[in-house]
Symmetry: C2
Subunit: 314 residues, 2 copies
């Protein structure tokens, strides 16, 4: 009998899906398998895609997946969906997006919900990416609504980050550029058949110029019409160009190292939170301290110090 890790390494989709479920549920067998698989990671090229709601990101990603499949590459997609409290959000989205690739073993799609899971988002994303990497996916796309710092950070740990903008954003470009500009390796100007596309390109170019020649890579602006597929071949080429540039300048290794350190910190945060949750449930002393804070009897800072001392992480 092959172990779960071995089956994932062999590219078995059902084993990968099972492992992701175990990780979601926080089952320790899942983390053991992930640890066993870690040496098999590092081969995939990871592409982050972010943009505001309505920018056509998802359609664009679907088109990119098609181009990569045509070029003989396997593709994993991690779609980070804000969950609607009423529709069941991510799970539904997962099913819909899976359907069109159902017959294609070269594509693996996974949606993650962000709701009520502060911090957990980064952890799950990194773990899911690691599983897809270990199962042999050539390209992995992390797609997110790039508006929160958490989401921006995740996309920023990809090897190549795309920021999707659309014409006529007006003031919104001011809000969007916050934090996102720094991570953009490629700007995608989607809905390029809409009015105001030239002005939008000028605005983006002005932002790029202001940012200076970061690292020696000047982010290109690629126009696309995701709904018809126009420009998507160019976009795939631009991604290849950037990946090649990373390789040739030795920056690829830098990005991988940085992502690994982020991963450790995330794993540490996660372990700390789980330990804390367990302590609150199991250690009456700690539960009592939290109660004292809840009632206002003690201030939160003193309680945090006392809890930390109890946990002996102080």
């Amino acid at each position: 009998m092959a172990t779960l890790a071995q089956r994932v390494r062999g590219g078995e989709r059902r084993a990968a899906a099972r492992l992701m479920r175990l990780l979601d549920d926080g089952v320790s067998a899942g983390f053991d398998a992930l640890r066993e698989l870690y040496p098999d990671t590092g081969r995939a090229r990871i592409v982050g895609v972010t943009g505001s709601p309505g920018s056509g990101k998802s359609t664009l990603v679907d088109q990119l997946v098609r181009v990569w499949r045509d070029r003989g590459l396997t593709v994993g997609v991690v779609a980070i969906d804000p969950t609607s409290p009423f529709s069941g959000g991510a799970i539904l989205g997962d099913r819909i997006r899976m359907r069109q690739h159902e017959a294609d073993d070269g594509v693996f799609v996974r949606s993650l919900a962000t709701r009520g899971n502060l911090g957990g988002l980064s952890r799950s994303t990194r773990d899911v990416v690691a599983v897809m990497d270990a199962m042999g996916m050539d390209r992995i796309v992390i797609e997110t609504v790039g508006v929160g710092q958490d989401e921006v950070d995740i996309v920023g740990t990809a090897h190549t980050s795309l920021v999707v903008l659309v014409p006529g954003m007006g003031d919104d470009i001011q809000a969007i550029k916050a934090g996102i500009l720094e991570i953009a390796d490629i700007f995608v100007l989607n809905k390029a058949d809409h009015e105001g596309v030239d002005r939008a390109e000028r605005e983006i170019r002005a932002m790029i110029e202001l940012g200076g020649d970061l690292d020696g890579w000047k982010p290109p602006i690629v126009r696309t019409i995701a709904s018809s597929g126009e420009g998507v071949l160019n976009l795939a080429d631009a991604v290849d160009d950037h990946l090649r540039w990373l390789d040739e300048t030795g920056r690829f290794e830098d990005r991988v190292r940085r992502a690994r350190v982020h991963h450790v910190r995330q794993a540490l945060r996660d372990r700390f939170e789980r330990r804390l949750d367990r302590a609150i449930t199991e250690q009456t002393g700690i539960a009592g301290l939290i109660d004292a804070a809840a009632s206002g009897e003690q201030d939160p800072y003193s309680v945090a110090d006392a809890v930390l001392a109890e946990l002996s992480v102080g």
Copy 2:
């Protein structure tokens, strides 16, 4: 000589600003003062305001501040601004927003930047709110672009949460409702003179109906035109209604308790991160483990376990 905490308690603006700076810089004297001030907190009513970029939130908050000032209330405003990497964002915004209230001792505005400060956002916000509370502000507004989970969580810890929407959002309403619907105590339909206002109200009402009668409070929809001030008196009344409802049903104490527990958890996370940063700098064993992860020699999960074990010993 009065201590810093005493001066803040006396309502001294310069002392409050100084304390906020100390907290920003992580100076321990700041945390000592905050601890000393904690018994003086809990009197302010905290109002969260969130909405997408371009919804007119800031103008609306300025109008609300005016109404409250007219009613003899003092007001603190914590504005969470996405920082532009080029303009220096928050600090600039702070100065501009301060200017119009410069002569008014009853208003204290503080802008916080979100950039590159994952997790730190919640901490700073809570601490700044605590300082404003201790200095005697009657109302404290937390204003944020409510798109990331982190931002939503912060607004959700307010006593009364306003969600600002505008007509003609189309598909965006789908994205906006994620996570935000649950926290809305009052919906503000701003730019109510724009086309599509009736349709937007119907959509919001449909969402509210779907959500059921949460807790016995049905969120009202208040139309406003922030630019002219129309509807803002109604909005201030709706906020009062909600605060009264919280008091009368005993839910106010529930919200306060919940916020205090959040505050403890945030303080714990923050301490853990600082402890970790210190350990990476000062303990060669831990730095070595992180290096082993960065080079790919060891997997991040094992390294996280090992670092946590080291931290517990140390």
